[in-house]
């Protein structure tokens, strides 16, 4: 195999070669570093590349494997994580000028878990500043979508989407509050899993909103996603809200059998008039439902009437809490924020307590509605976004009240599971062409709390019955 072909392997394929000692971790890391050097000037997906450290870690991994101490499918596999996740001795910036000098003295639990599984950290990935807003808010410049460099890779785990789709890491971690794993996965044609809140430790991850933040994988295939979530999930005494619930072998559970599974389609999001859902997205979701039906699933329509409001509810809660974490920054160092972040933070400071309290009540109502839906069906399906990736507006600013409201409506595509805490996975379900460029479309598959295995199994069955995952962007 040519070195430049190594990054094009899936984690499953790469792990097979590494376990058989047909490819070494060092060869793998060097192949990825070469690709990063070649393509990241276009994608801008990394904030920090750890070339020397990654080569040293790869040599150690290679020695362990040579000595018969193979740890599992992430051993020697190059990964990268959003720069919101603490890394011992390595700056963790939140893509903000305010945090460019912050060097944690401890790894976040998710990173420690990846390393314990043998993964090699290639670097820290770009993001929207403080995990809010558009890609342009990053102090390191925006990451670009590999499918079209002029389009958004999705927010806020911008680099996790761009690097994974661009084959600049084998798999990655993002953080999802209002949709920051699912959005980039959708825009970049990837599989992104927001796990159940409480399934994965948040310890050592800079917070946006304690009760909504989750950390999860953004990967190129369902199997790679299953392997990655398997490495980071589980109880952590450092995060008291992680549940002491056993973590199944997600990868082993990827059968294609979904016979008899009950799937609900969330009807409110299949509506062009109310939600602005692009007809090509609706057509793609309907085609996906036919695939599921062909695999033996039972399809029914589900109504969740508050869906269209969830973007506003999520924004109210998350922005209020986010600006409460370091209120002194906005008062003492306002010019160090990107303009868009500063405007969003200032607005969040003005949200009345009664509106915040109303949002918290609505969250409880939404959660009850989602829980009730899962008494009727095993899974819920809906679009991840209203359409394909947007062209990036490189000019900062909120132009009008209508623009601000539209952003809240768009947030409603991912709000149900941010508010309910249920697991939701975004997976490609088609392509559309705009200005001669093929762009991925995506659907969400959500399941009951702590039933990520069911979500992954359904996603795998769908993926293996379709060919979308075989299409990749050409960056040249």
């Amino acid at each position: 195999m040519l070195p430049e072909e190594i990054p094009l392997l899936s984690v499953v394929e790469l792990a097979n070669y590494i376990e058989k000692k047909e490819i070494t971790p060092l060869e793998t890391v060097r192949a990825y570093l070469s690709r990063i050097e070649k393509f990241d000037p276009k994608l801008n997906s990394y904030i920090t590349v750890l070339a020397d450290q990654a080569e040293q870690d790869a040599e150690i991994a290679g020695q362990e494997i040579s000595n018969g101490n193979y740890r599992g499918p992430l051993h020697g596999v190059p990964v990268a994580v959003k720069d919101q996740i603490h890394s011992e001795g390595i700056r963790t910036t939140d893509a903000s000028q305010i945090r460019t000098d912050f060097i944690p003295n401890e790894d976040a639990t998710v990173l420690a878990n990846l390393k314990a599984a043998g993964a090699i950290l290639l670097g820290k990935l770009n993001m929207s500043e403080f995990a809010l807003g558009d890609p342009i808010s990053s102090a390191f410049g925006p990451a670009h979508n590999p499918w079209d460099l002029n389009r958004s890779p999705g927010t806020s785990s911008t680099g996790s989407g761009a690097a994974t789709a661009g084959f600049l890491c084998a798999t990655s971690l993002g953080e999802d509050t209002g949709g920051s794993i699912r959005g980039p996965a959708a825009n970049c044609g990837l599989v992104g899993l927001r796990p159940t809140w409480g399934r994965v430790s948040r310890y050592g991850v800079d917070g946006a909103c304690w009760s909504i933040d989750t950390i999860g994988p953004i990967s190129r295939t369902v199997a790679d996603c299953a392997i990655t979530i398997g490495a980071i999930a589980g109880f952590d005494p450092k995060d008291k809200y992680t549940r002491q619930i056993s973590v199944p072998d997600y990868y082993a559970g990827l059968t294609k059998d979904i016979t008899g599974m009950k799937i609900g389609i969330v009807k409110e999001l299949m509506d062009t008039n109310t939600m602005g859902t692009d007809p090509v997205v609706i057509a793609a979701i309907n085609a996906a439902l036919e695939v599921f039906a062909g695999l033996g699933a039972e399809i029914q329509e589900i109504s969740l009437p508050l869906t269209k409001h969830t973007g506003a509810v999520v924004r109210t809660i998350t922005h209020t809490e986010r600006v409460s974490l370091h209120p002194e920054w906005l008062r003492e160092r306002p010019q160090e924020f990107h303009h868009n972040t500063r405007v969003a933070f200032m607005a969040a400071n003005l949200i009345p307590a009664q509106v915040y309290y109303k949002a918290q009540k609505l969250r409880a109502v939404v959660r009850d509605q989602v829980l009730n839906a899962f008494k009727e069906v095993d899974l819920l399906i809906q679009p991840t976004s209203s359409g394909p990736a947007n062209l990036m507006n490189l000019e900062p600013g909120v132009r009008s009240l209508e623009q601000a409201k539209k952003a809240l409506v768009e947030g409603g595509f991912r709000g149900l599971y941010s508010l309910s805490g249920a697991p939701a996975l975004s997976i490609p379900c088609g392509f559309t062409s705009e200005s001669g460029t093929d762009l991925p479309l995506a659907m969400q598959i959500a399941g009951r709390h702590f039933e990520e295995a069911t979500v992954l199994r359904a996603a795998y069955a769908y993926e293996q019955a379709t060919t979308w995952h075989n299409r990749h962007p050409s960056i040249e």
Partner: protein
């Protein structure tokens, strides 16, 4: 409710120790009005009986 004006937003800023001026002021006004309008549009009378527990407690999913 009528949208907040720039002057009202500036005054609210003073109340929370923020000096909000252009070029931020108009955009902050758009942003807070969008949130207030969108939240005001949600009318569910039964929320008076809802206890706003932010997370799923063990057993609630059963």
């Amino acid at each position: 409710m009528a949208p907040l004006s720039n002057e009202q937003v500036r005054a609210l800023g003073y109340a929370v120790n923020l000096n909000i001026e252009e070029p931020d002021l108009t955009e902050v006004t758009h942003s807070i009005n969008a949130i207030l309008d969108s939240m005001a549009a949600i009318n569910l009378p039964e929320t008076n009986l809802v206890e706003p527990i932010p997370i799923l407690l063990s057993g609630m999913e059963d």
